[in-house]
Symmetry: C2
DNA sequence: TTGAAAGCGCTAACAA
DNA sequence: TTGTTAGCGCTTTCAA
């Protein structure tokens, strides 16, 4: 039924070795004539090499695995695009899975990737499976961790400068005349990003003459259905707030919902700066000021680094790449009119 | 270095056969004692079966491939979620790639999937590689086509009822008092969906007492940077238009941009109904009336059908599943005030 | 209940 | 330049 390398060899009257060489573009040991002959029979028989057999023999599959934690957030779609494009360019295929922030699923998928002998793994970790990540690194399994840092784990990272992003956003709000600024953030002690963004907020206030008593921090429960209600309560109880710095694009949507419901005007009643540039941000009325993260670039660099460490003979020193976010100023944070 | 089934066998003083049976949960031929012994050594040695070797032998990989055409559109993220979850539930892993609507890339990826012996393929086709799809079907390669129909190709489809979705949306606009309704659509003669949505628009007008002379159809170039300009021109040249039926969520965003720029008020100056419910639709001001497509369900049914046809001995008759869209009414199409 | 042995399709060291 | 041969790690038939 299936055409194998043996069928081609027989048909072309050469050995399997010769066919193998030609299939793999290794023409150095072959006359032009046999090359042509073999190429022709390959075409005639519509021969397709079996990647499983090849992988079994060569212990390399040219497949990479990626573990994401949330498919809904469009930021990850951008990262995935970068990953996918780069894989294609460099001749790799991609296995994808979604841990949905659950430890067990993450562990199961990593195990699965190893069983399938993927050449390397890109992961946005739940952060909580420390032994799992550590194990991978100890066994020298090619791995790049993206977006989140894992405390005290030496590894290859591609992450964003979250402190700087938040700092820039909050300072912009101060510069446009806001004095009472709140930050909205998910509570999750494992994810460094969110703490870093709050840290950026704190720093911006402190370095601009404010004190810790000016901090206004609202922590929200990520999985909750009641996020908008929490935001409504908060805004009603703190009518002096002039601006919200939102650390996540899903939170931003809920803020906008709450603002609509309260009949507030943006930016006069409340200015908004939001993390993550999205497809829709510039189409809102008024358009949203956002902090754009280079997600595509993150995906690209992760794959490039991964493939580099796959190809390297000896273990490389772990490296951390930090990417810079960029503030995109739009009308949701226009200068305050006095 | 790597632990193989042989290492386990040696360590446990049994044959490879016995280990193989136990690894695969086949305990029928084994005493409780050897089972325990083997299970223990597997754990001790941290043995991981090699999926490549297994696949080579059993000619089945438990991997599915999916070819998407556009990662940016959040509709596809939803579909992907359905696909991913269902794969996980049914014990399959997923390879993903993005054709980006390009024929050559689509063909290359399909070839790659076959080389890797994925057990089946889910595809949102560019529609233009007819021979490629036909070839797959002739060779009885498990395949499910989602979202788009390919003319005169008998295959397994999971698609949406686009005529009905558009019909419902346009009729809703008529019912709320609009008489001059335009439809905005991408021009692409290959994609049935868009033609079907225009068809739904036409039908809704005709069945409600309008004639072909009332049709207002704006075709837009998908890859163009000038979409908003085209929309602006159109709206300025046709000031009598009371409502826009947008067949795509990206077009909708451009319409909103144009509306903001012209200073029009929604829904009084212009009502909007848009294809595809999105994360952001309900947070706009005013919230958008949309047509929700069951993308998650589409992904789920595609995978379930695919696995069914993988497991079936004899070839099943091709089946087409049509999913129903749902109109979500919000303020962007509020009743017209006279 | 257990195991020996053949072979899945391919690669590569070595020989010719 | 070309081919022979020995596996890669696993499953499975058949025999013990």
């Amino acid at each position: 039924m299936k055409i194998t390398i043996g069928d081609v060899a027989k048909e072309a009257n050469v050995s399997k070795t010769t066919v193998s060489r030609i299939v793999n573009g290794n023409y150095a040991h072959t006359t032009e004539e046999t090359k042509k002959k073999v190429l022709k029979t390959i075409k005639n028989l519509d021969y397709r090499p079996n990647a499983l057999a090849k992988g079994l023999k060569s212990t390399t599959t040219n497949v990479l695995g990626i573990v994401l934690s949330n498919l809904k957030n469009p930021f990850w779609t951008t990262v995935l695009e970068g990953v996918e494009d780069t894989c294609r360019e460099l001749g790799y295929n991609l296995m994808i899975c979604n841990s949905n922030e659950e430890l067990e699923i993450e562990a199961e998928y990593i195990r699965e990737f190893r069983t399938r002998r993927v050449d390397g793994i890109v992961i946005n970790p739940t952060v909580q499976n420390y032994d799992l990540y550590n194990n991978l690194i100890e066994e020298n399994y090619p791995l790049v961790i993206v977006n989140r840092r894992i405390p005290s784990l030496e590894a290859n990272y591609v992450v964003m400068d979250n402190v700087k992003g938040a700092y820039t956003g909050v300072e912009h709000l101060l510069n446009t005349g806001r004095k009472k600024i709140a930050v909205f953030v998910y509570q999750n002690s494992y994810v460094s990003n969110w703490q870093e963004r709050v840290e950026g907020y704190r720093l911006a206030l402190l370095r601009n003459g404010y004190s810790t008593s000016d901090f206004r921090i609202l922590e929200l429960e990520q999985r909750s259905e009641r996020i908008k209600d929490c935001i409504l309560d908060y805004l009603k109880n703190n009518p002096d707030i002039q601006a919200v710095f939102s650390t996540n694009n899903m939170i931003t949507l809920e803020v906008l919902g709450a603002v609509n419901e309260m009949g507030l005007t943006i930016p006069d009643d409340l200015a908004i700066v939001s993390y993550d540039e999205t497809l829709w941000a510039k189409y809102f009325n008024p358009p949203l000021t956002t902090i754009r993260q280079p997600g595509y670039k993150m995906g690209q660099l992760a794959v490039e680094g991964l493939i580099k460490s796959i190809n390297e003979e000896k273990k490389l020193d772990p490296s951390t790449i930090v990417l810079e976010p960029e503030l995109i100023i739009r009308e949701s944070s226009d200068k305050l009119q006095q």
